[in-house]
């Protein structure tokens, strides 16, 4: 196809839109610089003929299967968002799993810890504390602080002569006033326990303060 002399794109756009008569004065002046009004109208008619030629045929529509394939491709690239409810359930599952793991880890740590925090049991008016400083107990000495009175205000345990003071830093529980500390051998502790029996739990305010490795 041979090349034609340069003609402004604006004129070609005008040819696609309107006849020469319908052009404005400025547009007519522009057109006349390149082609005559008669030539312009011939080109306009030719343009219209080509458009009619293409529009004369009824063309088919795109088949539905194309859209279906594209939808599949779209969802592969952008997976559908999980519904909020479903997502929450999953979060709960994860949270529950984490909670179980943390609990297990905490218990494991506690069990294997060198220092076990004192456990306090309250049975009526009896407070009972145990602090263990070693995980493995070979032979122990218990230092316990018997209280002076039970709930009937009766002295149940006498203060022994083998008192031993405990540094304040080791006292995790404030000690009542007017108490003494004594150090016992393991056998003595067992004996004390067997002597007191269940009444000790009920009637004594006993601080069984610590076990220590000897």
């Amino acid at each position: 196809m041979k090349k034609e002399p340069s003609i402004p794109a604006a004129i070609l756009e005008l040819i696609a839109e309107k006849k020469f008569e319908a052009l404005s004065v400025e547009e007519k002046m522009l057109v006349k610089q390149f082609i005559t009004p008669a030539e312009y109208d011939e080109l306009y008619e030719a343009d219209e003929s080509i458009k009619r030629y293409f529009s004369a045929t009824h063309l088919p529509l795109p088949p539905e299967k194309i859209k279906q394939h594209l939808d599949q491709a779209f969802h592969q690239k952008h997976p559908k968002p999980v519904p909020i409810l479903h997502r929450q359930i999953q979060i709960w599952k994860v949270a529950a799993g984490i909670l179980v793991l943390l609990s297990g880890f905490y218990l494991y740590q506690k069990k294997n810890s060198a220092i076990i925090q004192p456990m306090v049991s309250i049975i009526h008016d009896t407070i009972y504390t145990i602090q263990q400083v070693e995980s493995v107990i070979h032979d122990t000495t218990a230092v316990y602080i018997p209280s002076v009175k039970n709930k009937r205000n009766k002295i149940l345990a006498s203060v022994a002569s083998t008192h031993k003071s405990i540094p304040d830093t080791n006292r995790h529980i404030p000690l009542p006033a007017n108490i003494g500390i004594r150090t016992l051998q393991t056998g003595d502790i067992n004996k004390e326990w067997s002597n007191t029996g269940s009444s000790m739990a009920e009637d004594e305010l006993l601080y069984r303060f610590r076990f220590a490795k000897i």
Binding site: M1, K2, K3, E4, P5, S6, I7, P8, A9, L12, E13, I15, A16, E39, E42, L43, E45, A46, D47, S49, I50, K51, R52, Y53, F54, S55, A56, T57, H58, L59, P60, L61, P62, P63, I66, K67, H69, L70, D71, A73, F74, H75, K77, H78
Partner: protein, 193 residues
């Protein structure tokens, strides 16, 4: 910020829709497909006529390219130009790969369908279409593409230049030549336009 729904998207430009598709908005993709699938399919259909199956494949491939290349879309560019560029390039690749190229629109005979009413008008239309059909037989593939974009898709000279990658001056001269030739043929056969 959540994804826009279909109602909100209806006021979006094509370029904005592509941005939404990039974010994974299905409704935006559906809307873009609705706006362009028929136009693009019929463009491909005419270019590749009579190979309708190829036109279907290319339409699907075109939208897959859109889906996978939204990140590379230049927001300053018109979406329609981008889509026609993809469509045209798909056809060009096909022509390159084919040993024996068939001339486009070889069997395209639209004069069997008349839009005119009177006998005189029908005859004139039939004649015009026949002349044009003969003229189209002499065109190369690239020229057919330009013709389609200009007269059927009604793109501007600048847009055609972007889509085809051909200089604006060349596009202009080809269109001008085609119009002159058509006008000359119609005039020489003494058919009143």
């Amino acid at each position: 910020m959540g994804l826009f729904n279909r109602k909100q998207l209806s006021s979006f430009t094509d370029e904005q829709l592509i941005g939404e598709i990039e974010r994974g908005n299905t409704a935006a993709f559906n809307l873009l497909y609705e706006r362009y699938s028929t136009r693009l399919y019929q463009y491909l259909f005419r270019i590749l006529y009579p190979d309708a199956a190829q036109a279907e494949d290319f339409l699907q491939e075109l939208f897959l390219k859109v889906l996978n290349n939204t990140h590379s879309f230049n927001a300053a560019q018109k979406a329609s130009t981008w889509l026609y560029t993809i469509a045209t390039n798909l056809c060009r690749n096909k022509w390159r790969n084919e040993a024996n190229r068939e001339r486009l629109m070889k069997s395209f005979k639209p004069w069997e369908h008349y839009t005119s009413k009177t006998v005189q008008e029908k005859l004139q239309e039939q004649y015009r279409n026949k002349v044009l059909h003969e003229l189209l037989q002499t065109l190369e593939n690239e020229e057919c593409v330009i013709l389609q974009l200009r007269f059927n898709e009604e793109l501007t000279i600048r847009e055609i230049a972007i889509v085809t990658g051909i200089a604006e001056g060349t596009i202009k001269s080809r269109i001008f030549y085609l119009l002159k030739k058509m006008a000359s043929k119609l005039k020489s056969n003494s058919i009143e336009l």
